[in-house]
């Protein structure tokens, strides 16, 4: 077949299947824009699509300078993880039985690549025979220190005290970084003892 002799936008009757080919040798016309179908790639302009389903292959859509209005993004039910660099990417680290001292002690850390992340964490420190009564926990860009970028946002002194242990959480806060950065979960306690900590982050955009 050598081309499609129909202009779709001006067709007044159904286009017979005999005039369609899986691989169009010649561009068809949709509206007022020429478009290649089959294995021809070209540009489509001013085109409104309704009820579009892509049932095979991979669709890569790039929107430059525009926006998607009223979009509803379907979440995954597969129990899998977002790939590195994609919205939803998750990074976490857990550590147990680290000796936490009276000075700021690293429990664990995570490394985040450039992006806009929400980050949070928590820590627990066992009480010993003497018993730990006060502790601090925070997230810092500086190893072994309650200082560094974003620490002020990490509410470093939340504590839950009990007879056997103390625990504290760093509430969620945002970090917006342009290069790979390490975030340390840092804690201290008035009586050195075993500590347990968890730090995690989710890429928001």
């Amino acid at each position: 077949m050598s081309g499609v002799p129909y202009t779709f936008a001006t067709a007044t009757t159904s286009i017979p299947l005999s005039q369609l080919d899986v691989n169009f040798a010649t561009n068809a016309t949709l509206g007022n824009t020429a478009v290649g179908l089959g294995n021809t790639v070209t540009t489509v302009g001013n085109l409104t699509l309704g009820n579009v389903a892509i049932t095979s292959g991979t669709a890569n859509v790039t929107i430059t300078g525009g926006s998607v209005a009223n979009s509803i993004v379907l979440g995954t039910t597969a129990g899998d993880n977002a790939s590195a660099g994609y919205v939803g990417e998750y990074v976490d680290s857990y550590v147990s039985s680290v000796t936490v001292n009276t000075s700021a002690t690293n429990l664990t850390s995570i490394s985040l690549t450039a992006g806009d992340w929400d980050i949070y964490g928590n820590a627990q420190i066992n009480g010993g025979t003497v018993g730990a009564t006060t502790m601090s926990v925070g997230i810092s860009t500086t190893s072994g220190s309650f200082s560094g970028t974003n620490l002020a946002k990490s509410a470093a002194n939340g504590c839950v005290l009990s007879a056997s242990a103390t625990g504290g959480a760093v509430v969620k806060f945002r970090v917006n970084i342009t290069s790979t950065t390490t975030y340390y979960l840092v804690a201290s306690v008035n009586v050195a003892n075993a500590g347990y900590g968890y730090i995690c982050a989710r890429r928001m955009r």
Partner: protein, 59 residues
Amino acid sequence: MKYAIVRQDGVTEIREDSYPLQEGAIILNDLQHEQLMSGQYILQNGEIVTNPNPPKALT
């Protein structure tokens, strides 16, 4: 990917992310990951064993 890495100070970190797997990382299945994240177990010589010093309940 869920995995464990043993730090230079001997402490084991239990991690989950989508980064390329680090050298020396031990891949964990869901059950192993859940056990280790509970704090009731630790990784010792490549085996999951009971943590002799688990986190105490906040009573």
